[in-house]
């Protein structure tokens, strides 16, 4: 603690110190700041550190000595057990469904948000459409779960990846439209006007002008939507029934509710299934701020 304080005080006082405040008062405030920061970091990080520790702890050791965070005798036994138990298949299911749902939402959402920004709608239908999108965003998904079950049954898509990709659009499509709207707005209209005067049609303008300029926005939206679909639980629970078709959140839930004592394996799945998202978290954080700033416009 003292080491942290010593190295950090100069940085902090450079930026914040007001000319009048005394030295003792400043260091008390600095100490308070780092105490609060330390408490916050502990609260948010400790459960994740604990999960990682348990995933490498041999069964039986975590019962006797559960306050330690790191295993005394690290083991890969839980991961081997998971590998044999069919984890790779569930990972593949999740990947296909999440990427499929994201790509579908991104392409339909891109076309729609382009039209909403650039086209004149008859009778203010664009406002009606945006209102619908907003209502869907607010709607609890369980409300439509029963009719969707019957819809999927009628289409013969129950218990299938395609069916899940389809119903995930309840979450992903409104989100994509909302996010992409502001990115498309940032593309200068003049570029398209010039291209249009030279005879470029809709598809060429979309492909050669709007799409490349929306690149970063599309990437950020892709990642957010992917995380959303990757972690989805309710629809997977309701519409999948064959264990080999399960996605990872559903696979985790089976371990929680039935085999509560296999903590090592449970935390192993937790770690493996969230690792890709955790790795992306660092990358997307600057987009996160921008994304929320845009939702307010």
């Amino acid at each position: 603690m003292s080491a942290i304080k010593q190295t950090s005080v100069p940085v902090f006082s450079d930026s914040v110190a007001a000319p009048f405040s005394g030295v003792s008062r400043l260091s008390a405030r600095t100490l308070g700041f780092y105490l609060a920061l330390g408490a916050a970091l502990t609260f948010f990080a400790l459960p994740i550190v604990w999960m990682a520790g348990i995933a490498f702890t041999p069964s039986g050791e975590y019962v006797s000595d559960s306050l330690s965070l790191l295993p005394a005798h690290p083991t890969l036994a839980h991961f081997e057990a998971l590998w044999r138990d069919g984890f790779p298949g569930r990972l593949a299911n999740t990947l296909i469904v999440a990427v499929g749902a994201t790509l579908l939402a991104l392409s339909l959402g891109f076309l729609a948000s382009y039209a909403l920004v650039r086209f004149r709608f008859p009778r203010r239908l664009d406002h009606a459409f945006l209102l619908l999108v907003l209502v869907i965003k607010m709607m609890p998904p369980i409300v439509v779960a029963i009719p969707l079950f019957q819809l999927l049954k009628g289409l013969g898509l129950l218990d299938s990846k395609l069916g899940l990709i389809l119903v995930y659009q309840v979450y992903t499509l409104p989100f994509c439209i909302w996010m992409l709207l502001s990115f498309v707005r940032d593309v200068p209209l003049s570029l398209e006007q010039a291209a249009s005067l030279e005879g470029a049609g809709l598809l060429r303008r979309l492909w050669h002008i709007v799409l490349p300029l929306c690149g970063p926005g599309l990437a950020a939206t892709f990642i957010f939507t992917l995380i959303m679909a990757w972690n989805e639980f309710l629809f997977a629970l309701l519409y999948l029934s064959t264990p080999s078709h399960f996605t990872l959140p559903l696979y985790v839930s089976n371990f929680i509710t039935e085999n509560e004592t296999f903590w090592g394996q449970l935390m192993g799945i937790g770690l493996l299934s969230s690792l890709p998202m955790l790795l992306m978290a660092g990358y997307v954080q600057r987009y996160l701020l921008r994304g929320f700033a845009m939702q307010m416009k």
Binding site: I48, W50, L108, M277
Partner: protein, 288 residues
């Protein structure tokens, strides 16, 4: 110049519109019909019964409990998340060593699947071996029945939600704080406004739209609560953590009581719309 071609507009809009109509407008119309019907699941027959389903719901103490739990969870959890998020955002609205590494750590939980969060916390809440009770014991305190005490269970679920989603409130409010122009901050400093007074009279009014947005998004999300109670308590003990989502799930997918489930879903949709309308109105009001 806006583009005017009706044909192109139709081509661009119809895929998304058709898909959304199929996935939401059609289901909502079905809910509207089923809510006033007796639905025989096996024979796939429907019979109009007027308000019977709603009368049955009003006499169902499980449903009353679910409404009470969902609303109190939503109000309390979203207020706590926004309050904590605000405090965190003020903490992070400055430069300090290691900020670049501290920020991702804070937002990790919201990247996790709710089921993974629930798995961690279910292990932590374990009465005999759980991390929390071990910590309490080592401090010389009594262990707590986190998930099996009816008065405690809803708060234990709430703590998990606070852990997972405070980061979202934090990010929204931080975005607001960082968009305050530097000259306003400087002007406040030269006027001698410092500490709590400066926060209360200058900073807080400026970030009010973001605070309200965070409150809106979090209260709507907490109102939907399903995954955590499904994984942590299953609605129990008794009905102490039963929520509206869980009630509809059980009626529809366990007891195949489609009429009753649809009536409950219709009520839930109404509450969610009313909630968002109130906030949208307040939010627009705060903006102008």
């Amino acid at each position: 110049m806006l583009f005017r071609s009706r044909l192109q507009l139709l081509l661009l809009m119809s895929p998304a519109t058709l898909l959304l109509a199929m996935l939401t407008l059609y289901p909502i119309s079905q809910i509207l019909i089923n809510a006033f019907s007796y639905v025989d699941y096996v024979g796939a027959e429907r019979q109009f019964v007027g308000l019977d389903n709603f009368v049955e719901l009003s006499e169902d103490w499980f449903f009353a409990g679910a409404i009470k739990n969902s609303l109190s969870f939503s109000v309390l959890a979203s207020l706590l998340q926004v309050g904590l998020g605000l405090a965190l955002a003020v903490l992070f609205d400055r430069q300090f060593a290691g900020r670049r590494f501290a920020l991702p750590v804070i937002i990790y939980p919201m990247m996790l699947s709710t089921l993974v969060c629930s798995a961690i916390w279910r292990a932590w809440y374990h009465y005999d071996f759980g991390f929390l009770n071990n910590a309490l014991l080592s401090l010389g305190l009594e262990p707590v029945q986190w998930l099996f005490d009816p008065d405690m269970a809803l708060f234990s679920v709430m703590l998990v939600d606070i852990w997972q989603w405070t980061p979202m409130a934090f990010l929204i409010i931080l975005a607001g704080l960082q968009s305050i122009p530097a000259d306003i901050k400087d002007a406040a400093l030269t006027d001698g406004a410092r500490g709590w007074r400066r926060f209360r009279h200058i900073t807080l009014p400026l970030i009010m739209p973001q605070v309200l947005l965070a409150l809106l998004l979090r209260s709507i999300d907490t109102f939907k609560l399903f995954d955590k109670v499904y994984a942590l308590t299953g609605g129990g003990p008794g009905n102490s953590t039963e929520t509206l989502s869980l009630f509809i799930y059980k009626q529809g997918f366990k007891f195949f009581n489609l009429g009753l489930a649809s009536a409950a879903a219709l009520l839930m949709l109404t509450i969610a719309c009313a909630l968002s309308a109130v906030y949208a109105w307040r939010y627009v009001g705060a903006k102008s």
